[in-house]
C-alpha cells in the first residue's frame, strides 16, 4: 500500500516551511532515517529523515515551495500502515482529505487482537496509542488502562480532534488575523523597473512576529544615556585575553550580565502574558536572546542561563552562536526559549532608536553606539565641569500590560548603574 509523508508538526508554532532541497527521486528506495528533504522553517533549516523504509513513489513538492504542516510532500510504496502526521492535523487539512483514498478493510483480521477491555481499547484509540506497541502488565498479558496512560505519558500524544478543534492556538502567530489589506498597490513599473521577490520564510516570519507584537502589545519606551567611559576602558583592558579564549568582548556581554541581574530583581520583566488563562507566567530561568543581523535577515539566537555564566563563557558562547546563525548552521532549538532580548545597534553606528518586543517576551533592551560627548561631571566637592565622556544611548521597551513605568525606570536604572561602574557590575555578577 502507499503511504503519504506529510510535513510533520515541528512544534513551537512552526506551521509552514520552505523546501530547500530534495535529495530523493521517484523510484528511489529509502531506509527509515535517510534524509529525504531539507526544509527551512521560520526558525531554522532542518533535514527531514524518512519515517519509512520503502520506495519513493511520488514527490508532490518542488524546491522553493512553501508547504504547510500536514501537506502531503512525498508518497512511498511500503508495508507501513501508519501515517506520519497525527490525525488531528489531517482533519484540518483539506489537501490531506483529498489524498485519502477509499475505505481500508476492517481491522479485525489485520492483526491478532491485543487483549484489553473495551474501555481500555477506547482510551487507546482516543490517545492515538497502538495497542501492539504497549507492553502489558495485566494477568496473562492483558493491557490495562494504566499501561496505556503510562505509554501515552512517555510519547506526547496529540489531543483528540474534538478538543483541538475547540482551542485555537492563541500563542501561534497565525492566531493574529492580519487586517484585510484593502489597499491595492499602484503599478510601480509606470515609474521604472521593479523586481518582485518572494516574501517568505525568515522575512515573512519576522514580519508576522513584528506585526503581532506591535499590534498586540502596548509598547512603552524608556530612553536614557549611559556613561560607559570606565566600562570601555575595562573592555579594552580585557578584550585580548577573551579573544585568546575564542570569544569577543562586546558591550552586549556586559549588557547581558547587567540585564540578568535586573531581571532577578524585577521578575515581571522575565515573564510572558497568557491571555487564555489570564495569567502572567514568571520564568525562573534567564535565557537572553541577542538580535543578530544576517544576510537572510534578523535572527535571535538564545543564550541560556546568562545569570550562571561568566563573561568569558558568555563571550565564547555568543560568538559561536552568531557565527552559526550567519552561516545558517544553527539548530532550531538554540533559537527558542528566550525570556528577554537585547539588540545592539551600536556596532552598525546606530544611536537613538526604539525596539519592538520579541513576543511572547515582555521587554527588550536596545543599545546605541557609544560616542564621545561633552558631559557635566560634579566632583565630590560639588564643583561642576564639562568633560568629554563616552556616552551610550540605551532604550528599554516594555509591555505596559505586564509592568509599569516606575518599575521600568528602576529596572533601567539598575542596568545603567551596572554599566557605568564596572566594579558594581562585577559584584552583581558574582
Amino acid at each position: 500500500m502507499t503511504t503519504s509523508f506529510r510535513l510533520p508538526d515541528l512544534g513551537e508554532g512552526v506551521h509552514e516551511a520552505e523546501i530547500l532541497a530534495l535529495p530523493v527521486v521517484p523510484g528511489q528506495a529509502v531506509r527509515e532515517g535517510d534524509v529525504i528533504m531539507e526544509i527551512e522553517t521560520d526558525k531554522a533549516a532542518v533535514e527531514i529523515p524518512s519515517p519509512y523504509t520503502g520506495t519513493v513513489s511520488e514527490i508532490l513538492v518542488q524546491v522553493g515551495d512553501m508547504v504547510v504542516v500536514g501537506d502531503v510532500l512525498i508518497t512511498f510504496t511500503s508495508g507501513a500502515a501508519e501515517e506520519a502526521a497525527p490525525s488531528p492535523i489531517q482533519k484540518n487539512q483539506p489537501k490531506a482529505e483529498a489524498a485519502a483514498t477509499g475505505p481500508e478493510p476492517r481491522q479485525e483480521q489485520k492483526q491478532k487482537p491485543v487483549p484489553a477491555s473495551p474501555s481500555t481499547r477506547r482510551l487507546a484509540r482516543e490517545l492515538g496509542v497502538d495497542l501492539h506497541e504497549v507492553s502489558p502488565t495485566g494477568s496473562g498479558g492483558i493491557v490495562t488502562r494504566e499501561d496505556i496512560e503510562a505509554y501515552a505519558g512517555r510519547k506526547s500524544i496529540p489531543e483528540s480532534p474534538a478538543e483541538t478543534s475547540k482551542t485555537p492556538p492563541l500563542a501561534a502567530p497565525t492566531a493574529i488575523p492580519p487586517a484585510p489589506d484593502r489597499t491595492t498597490l499602484p503599478d510601480f513599473t509606470k515609474w521604472g523597473d521593479i523586481e518582485r521577490l518572494p516574501f517568505r520564510s525568515i522575512r515573512r516570519a519576522t514580519a508576522r512576529q513584528m506585526t503581532s507584537s506591535w499590534t498586540q502589545i502596548p509598547h512603552v519606551h524608556c530612553q536614557d544615556n549611559v556613561d560607559i567611559t570606565e566600562l570601555e576602558a575595562f573592555r579594552q583592558k580585557h578584550k585580548t585575553e577573551i579573544k585568546a579564549a575564542g570569544g569577543r568582548l562586546t558591550m552586549t556581554l556586559f549588557a547581558m550580565k547587567a540585564v540578568a541581574t535586573a531581571l532577578k530583581n524585577y521578575p515581571y520583566f522575565n515573564a510572558s502574558l497568557d491571555l487564555q488563562t489570564q495569567e502572567i507566567i514568571i520564568k525562573h530561568f534567564f535565557h537572553i536572546g541577542i538580535a543578530v543581523d544576517t544576510e537572510n535577515g534578523l535572527m535571535v539566537p538564545v543564550i541560556r542561563d546568562v545569570d550562571r555564566k561568566s563573561i568569558k563563557e558568555l563571550a565564547i558562547e555568543l560568538d559561536g552562536a552568531i557565527g552559526r546563525v550567519r552561516a545558517g548552521t544553527h539548530s532550531r532549538e538554540e533559537m527558542q526559549g528566550g525570556t528577554f532580548t537585547i539588540t545592539n545597534a551600536g556596532a552598525l553606528g546606530g544611536s537613538h532608536f526604539s525596539a519592538i518586543i520579541n513576543h511572547p517576551e515582555v521587554a527588550i533592551l536596545g543599545l546605541g553606539q557609544g560616542r564621545m560627548q561633552p558631559a557635566v561631571v560634579t566632583d565630590e566637592r560639588g564643583r561642576h565641569e564639562i568633560v568629554p565622556r563616552l556616552i551610550m544611548p540605551i532604550v528599554l521597551c516594555f509591555d505596559h500590560r505586564v509592568v509599569d513605568g516606575a518599575d521600568a525606570i528602576r529596572f533601567l536604572r539598575l542596568v545603567i548603574d551596572a554599566l557605568e561602574d564596572p566594579d558594581e557590575l562585577l559584584i552583581t555578577m558574582i
Binding site: P177, P178, P180, R182, T184
Partner: protein, 326 residues
C-alpha cells in the same frame, strides 16, 4: 424545547394565540381540512372548528375585505393568501381600507388584522408563485411589513403581528418553510415589530438582509471570514416597514461599509430605501459606495433559471469584497 420547521413554528404561534384569545380567527383558501397548502394551519380546524378556521371561496379580495370587516367588528383575523403572487387581487382592500381605517376614522376604528402570504423563489415552483413584492406593502402608509428568517423568529413575530393593533403583512419565505429546524420554546415568545437583529457581529462591513436571504448572507459571511479574514456584521431586519433605521445606521457608522441584499427586484426595491436611510444617517462614515445584491429588474424567471436570479452567497461575498477594495 422542541425542534421545529418554520411551518410547525407558525402553526404553534397560531394555535397558542387562538387558545389565548377567542377574537383570533383564521380565514383563507384550503386552510381548514387541508391545513393550508403548506400545512401552516394543519389540524387547527380540529381544535377550533370551522367557525374560527374558515375555508373561504376562491376570492382574494373577499378574504382581505372580509378580514377588514371582521377586524373593525373587533376580531383579530389572520388571513392567508395562498401565494403572495395572488395578493394583487386584494391590493385595493389593503391600500384603500386596511391601511386607512384608523386614519380615516381618526382612531375610532382600527384593523388589527394580519395577512400571511408565502413569498420568494428557490423551491422550483410554477410561475406567479415566486415573487418578492414586499416593496408594495412597505410603500403603503398604514401597513406594517414583516418577514421572518427562521422558525424561532417567525413564531415570535407572528405572535406580535397578531397582537399588533395595526394591519400587518406577514411574508413567509417558501424556501424557509422546511429548510431547517430550530429549537422553538413551547412557552410564549414575542419579538417587537420594527426592530432588527444583529445576527453576526463584525467590524469590516455590514450586510443588511431579511427573510430567505439570511441563509446565503450568513454563508457568504462565513466564507469571507474563512477565505479573506473579513468580519462581516450581518443585520436581519425582520421588519421591512417600519425599518429599524437606528440599528442599520449605528452598524454602518462602525463598519463604514455596507451591502444590502434582497430577492426583490433592485429598482425602487427595499434596498433603495435602506441605502437612502444610510446615506442620510451615516454618509460621513462611509468608506465605500454601498453595494446592492438583489434580484434583477425582471419577472423572476421560471424555475430552471431561478437560481441565477436569486442572490447567491457568492454574489454577496463578491459585493462585500468589492466594497472592501476601496
Amino acid at each position: 424545547m422542541a425542534k421545529m420547521t418554520m411551518v410547525e413554528a407558525l402553526n404553534l404561534a397560531l394555535r397558542q394565540e387562538m387558545e389565548k384569545d377567542d377574537s383570533v380567527v383564521l380565514l383563507g383558501q384550503d386552510i381548514g381540512r387541508d391545513g393550508g397548502v403548506f400545512r401552516v394551519t394543519d389540524h387547527l380546524i380540529d381544535q377550533f372548528g370551522s367557525e374560527r378556521v374558515i375555508d373561504t371561496p376562491l376570492a382574494e379580495s373577499a378574504i382581505v375585505g372580509m378580514s377588514v370587516g371582521m377586524a373593525v367588528y373587533g376580531l383579530k383575523p389572520v388571513c392567508e393568501i395562498q401565494f403572495s403572487g395572488f395578493s394583487y387581487q386584494n391590493f385595493h382592500q389593503l391600500e384603500n381600507h386596511a391601511a386607512r381605517m384608523r386614519w380615516r376614522s381618526q382612531g375610532r376604528l382600527n384593523v388589527p388584522m394580519v395577512m400571511r402570504a408565502p413569498y420568494g423563489g428557490g423551491v422550483r415552483a410554477l410561475e406567479h408563485h415566486s415573487e418578492s413584492r414586499e416593496a408594495y406593502w412597505a410603500h403603503t402608509p398604514g401597513l406594517k411589513m414583516v418577514i421572518p428568517s427562521g422558525p424561532r423568529n417567525a413564531r415570535a413575530l407572528l405572535v406580535s403581528a397578531i397582537r399588533d393593533p395595526d394591519p400587518v403583512i406577514f411574508y413567509e419565505g417558501k424556501a424557509l418553510y422546511r429548510a431547517f429546524r430550530e429549537e422553538v420554546p413551547e412557552e410564549e415568545e414575542t419579538l417587537p415589530l420594527g426592530k432588527g437583529n444583529i445576527v453576526r457581529p463584525g467590524d469590516d462591513l455590514t450586510i443588511i438582509a431579511y427573510g430567505a436571504m439570511l441563509r446565503p448572507v450568513l454563508e457568504a459571511a462565513e466564507n469571507l471570514q474563512k477565505k479573506d479574514k473579513i468580519e462581516a456584521e450581518v443585520i436581519d431586519l425582520l421588519t421591512i416597514s417600519p425599518l429599524d433605521e437606528s440599528l442599520m445606521v449605528a452598524s454602518v457608522k462602525k463598519t463604514g461599509r455596507a451591502v444590502v441584499v434582497h430577492e426583490a427586484p433592485r429598482s425602487f426595491g427595499p434596498g433603495a430605501e435602506i441605502v437612502a436611510r444610510l446615506m442620510e444617517g451615516a454618509f460621513y462614515y462611509l468608506e465605500a459606495p454601498i453595494e446592492r445584491v438583489t434580484g434583477f429588474d425582471l419577472i423572476i424567471p421560471y424555475f430552471s433559471r431561478e437560481k441565477s436570479y436569486i442572490p447567491s452567497a457568492e454574489r454577496i461575498a463578491n459585493a462585500a469584497r468589492k466594497t472592501l477594495k476601496i
